[in-house]
Amino acid sequence: MFDLTGKIALVTGASGGIGGAIARRLHGQGATVVLSGTRAEALEALAGELGERTQVMTCNLGDPAATEALVGQVEAEAGQLDILINNAGLTRDGLAMRMKDEDWQQVLDVNLTAAFRLTRASLKGMMKRRWGRIIGISSIVGVTGNPGQANYAASKAGLIGMTKSLAQEVASRGITVNCVAPGMIETAMTDALNDQQRERILTAIPMQRLGKSEEIASGVVYLASEEAAYVTGQTLHVNGGMAMI
């Protein structure tokens, strides 16, 4: 099940907790994995751990030209791009009333606009080959909202809307476009919470625990696989029951 042998995947934000777990799982299913991010050292360490079938390509997704060039670089060096994982994301939290334009813009640029640019660049090759998987890592807050995260929630909701539109555009060409929406996952982002915040969050999660990055990666592997060929335009919520949408 879920065999990805021969497929080539690009994972953005692969130096992060969820991105790294996604890269590991795709690699474990046989895919060649291109690890992208800004922290070369962390990416090299992951590549070293995974061994063969990995490549590192650093890229600052806040830079439009570099973002445009990334897919071409993958196609030139790895051969083609079959699976695009738009995982990279950052937060610049703050109450909307106090949110600076640059905090809004930076989050939208990296979380949403870069995902669009990478997607647009990858479609040509996928359309020619009549096969492609584009998976955006959204978030529960893109659907439920979260105080202090107007920018982040907007970017994550934007991914879902973009996904639904693209899915309709390219469905007839064997390309599926989906999202995975994590709830509260144990990563550097949630490590920053204090005990009181953590306690309050747990009361809202029926599973009474945070999720693991690997549990997000499992959803991604499914959507990337041949077995999910008839699933498109969907958002798979992986959140321990925190929101049932």
């Binding site: 359309m127 020619k128 555009e169 007839s172």
Partner: protein, 78 residues
């Protein structure tokens, strides 16, 4: 030479859209006469670019409506 380009263009259209070659006249519109959807027209442009080794910018691609438009563009740019 120009006939050669015209024939190659028509061959791509026939193959890509799966239409009878008799329907692929120079005045035929990809969308109105040959049943192409907007995504088909994008793919046709990609196929022309590959076949003739040229680049068709987006603003030029938008003006390629008929078979003749495609032949003319390629003749001028190859």
């Amino acid at each position: 030479m120009s006939n050669d380009i015209a024939e190659r263009v028509k061959k791509i259209v026939v193959e890509h859209l799966g239409v009878d070659d008799a329907k692929v006249t120079e005045t035929a519109s990809f969308i109105d006469d040959l049943g192409a959807d907007s995504l088909d027209t994008v793919e046709l442009v990609m196929a022309f670019e590959e076949e003739f080794g040229c680049e068709i910018p987006d603003d030029a691609a938008e003006k390629i409506v008929t078979v003749k438009d495609a032949i003319d563009f390629i003749q001028e740019h190859s």
